[in-house]
């Protein structure tokens, strides 16, 4: 497996784009999940035909949008799977 992982550019905000989220997330978010190492902002994003969950990293200015199938797939991954992702890309 390659050590270098390309940024998911199709999902990234444009350079200079500032993402604004309402302070009161309501049912759609955003939810801030943070610990002393990093913080991310999670919200639901409506598309014309469905919904995705967006995970935005203010630190890296990256984001991904997962649909239900992708999230379902994540739900049965072992913690080692995340470890392997961090092994490939531990820091920007």
């Amino acid at each position: 497996m390659s050590e270098a992982v390309p940024r998911p550019e199709a999902e990234n905000p444009d350079d200079g784009e500032v993402l604004h989220y309402p302070r009161d997330g309501g049912n759609d978010g955003p939810i801030v999940v943070a610990n002393e190492f990093v913080d991310v902002v999670v919200r639901k994003v409506q598309t014309r035909n469905g919904v995705r969950l967006e995970i935005f990293s203010p630190k890296h200015n990256t984001c991904v949008r997962f649909d239900a199938v992708a999230l379902d797939c994540l739900s049965y991954q072992e913690p080692e799977f995340i470890t392997s992702l961090l092994a490939r890309s531990p820091a920007p």
């Binding site: 002393e36 990093v38 995340i82 470890t83 961090l86 490939r88 531990p90």
Partner: protein
């Protein structure tokens, strides 16, 4: 004597201290002395089983707290597998502190300097620019966080830096019988009620450890307001009653104060007392049901106290438990950690009441705590003075006591409660470590 002609502590000086304890004497200077402190770091805290955390502080996967053994900052974390690991809080790359927060939740720790990433169990998993920078010259398996040996008893997580230390069970040596009063309140055991109160104080850890290994003698004096105002269910005329129990050769000791006519398990909610009658052994029930105050120390620096304390003076007392760790940070300086332990199964109302009683008496600004620290800080200051270098204290109370043959608990158990027996055992064990016998 503890000093040679040059005023320097020597091995012979430490041997002299050890001999003095057997004769009921202990020198003042040990309570505020740079060389004693440095020797303790190497010979006591680097060898003994030291308390790290209560399991209920890290109940979920990824939970961690940072604690110390000697001057080593450790991460105590519950891994994704559910196991508890203790690791030196120091990146193996250039030594940066991994976790700056004292508590948190993380599946992985990422160094803020060069970005090395470790699993919360301590294994190195991520190295930035691994291929470009290291070209295969680093094997991640060789560079995990430095592990510390751990073991648990009834929710207490201990660690030791000594790979050759005996098992924790052997180290506790039967003191578990008494610890159960604090740790097995009710059939589901005890849990911490929030994070610890945590502060730095100008006292030596040994003064606190000794006091909590069963100093019933100071209570009617230092805490006299507690008697006089009706916060505390004892009186000067009966306060000497009870037992001093210690585990010979291990250093652990507990004072068990008894008040005549005190109802069995007074201060506990009735349903909790019923649970304890069935979940504890008959011998433990016999001892604990008639115990008003239980104040004990696990060698070297972990202590507990349980007693009923009236939130409103004159009203019935509420049982609370404080668990405290006296972490030495310098000669005569201690980082205090104080938790409130509550029965896991108890009602929220009782937990809140117990926490209020604890806060009133023994949290950082607690009344009993203030009484003690006021005295301990002055003892510490005196102990560091030049004239104190050759002064000794008497530890002769109860030297002629014979063990109570009818007492159902283990160890060396004597009456009355007011006794130096536990302290001689504590300092005897300390001197075994200090002279390199352990």
């Amino acid at each position: 004597m503890a000093t040679d002609s040059a005023g320097t502590r020597t091995e012979a000086g430490l041997e002299g201290i050890r001999d003095g304890i057997a004769q009921g004497r202990f020198p003042a200077h040990v309570f505020n002395d740079r060389e004693i402190f440095d020797t303790e770091q190497r010979r006591v805290f680097s060898k003994a089983w030291c308390f790290l955390a209560h399991e209920s502080e890290i109940p979920n996967r990824g939970d961690y707290v940072t604690r110390y053994i000697a001057d080593n900052n450790l991460i105590v974390a519950r891994a994704e597998s559910g196991e508890i690991h203790a690791s030196l809080n120091m990146c193996r790359h250039r030594g940066n502190m991994m976790c700056k927060s004292e508590m948190g939740n993380a599946s992985h720790f990422r160094c803020s300097y060069h970005g090395w990433v470790y699993k919360n169990s301590g294994e190195l998993v991520g190295v930035p620019y691994m291929k470009e920078g290291y070209g295969g010259r680093i094997d991640k398996r060789d560079w995990g966080l430095v592990k510390v040996r751990t073991d648990t008893y009834a929710g207490l997580v201990f660690g030791t830096l000594d790979p050759d230390a005996p098992t924790l069970e052997e180290y506790l040596g039967g003191f578990q019988f008494y610890l159960d009063l604090y740790l097995k309140q009710g059939s589901s055991g005890s849990e911490v009620h929030g994070p610890p109160d945590h502060w730095v104080t100008e006292t030596d850890w040994k003064i606190a450890a000794e006091n909590f290994s069963g100093d019933g003698y100071h209570t009617p004096v230092a805490h006299q307001f507690g008697f006089n105002l009706g916060y505390f269910a004892s009186s000067g005329s009966t306060h000497s009653q009870g037992w001093a129990a210690s585990i010979p050769g291990k250093g652990h000791g507990i004072g068990l104060g008894h008040t005549p006519g005190f109802p069995p398990f007074a201060g506990f909610p009735e349903e909790l007392a019923e649970e304890m009658r069935s979940s504890l052994s008959p011998e433990q029930v016999e001892v604990f049901s008639q115990t008003r105050t239980a104040v004990g120390t696990v060698f070297p620096n972990l202590s507990f106290l349980m007693q009923p304390f009236s939130i409103v003076p004159g009203e019935a007392g509420v049982r609370f438990v404080t668990m405290r760790l006296y972490h030495p940070i310098g000669p005569g300086r201690t980082e205090m950690y104080s938790w409130c332990l509550v029965p896991k199964d108890a009602s929220d109302e009782y937990k809140q009441e117990a926490y209020r009683a604890y806060t009133l008496a023994f949290a950082q600004a607690g009344t009993f705590e203030q009484d003690d620290l006021e005295n301990w800080a002055r003892v510490t200051r005196s102990a560091g003075s030049t004239m104190a270098r050759n002064i000794e204290f008497p530890y002769v109370m109860g030297m002629d006591s014979t063990p109570d043959p009818d007492f159902p608990g283990p160890g060396h158990v004597v009456t009355p409660y007011v006794n130096d027996s536990n302290f001689r055992n504590l300092w005897s064990r300390w001197s075994e470590y200090m002279t390199g016998r352990v």
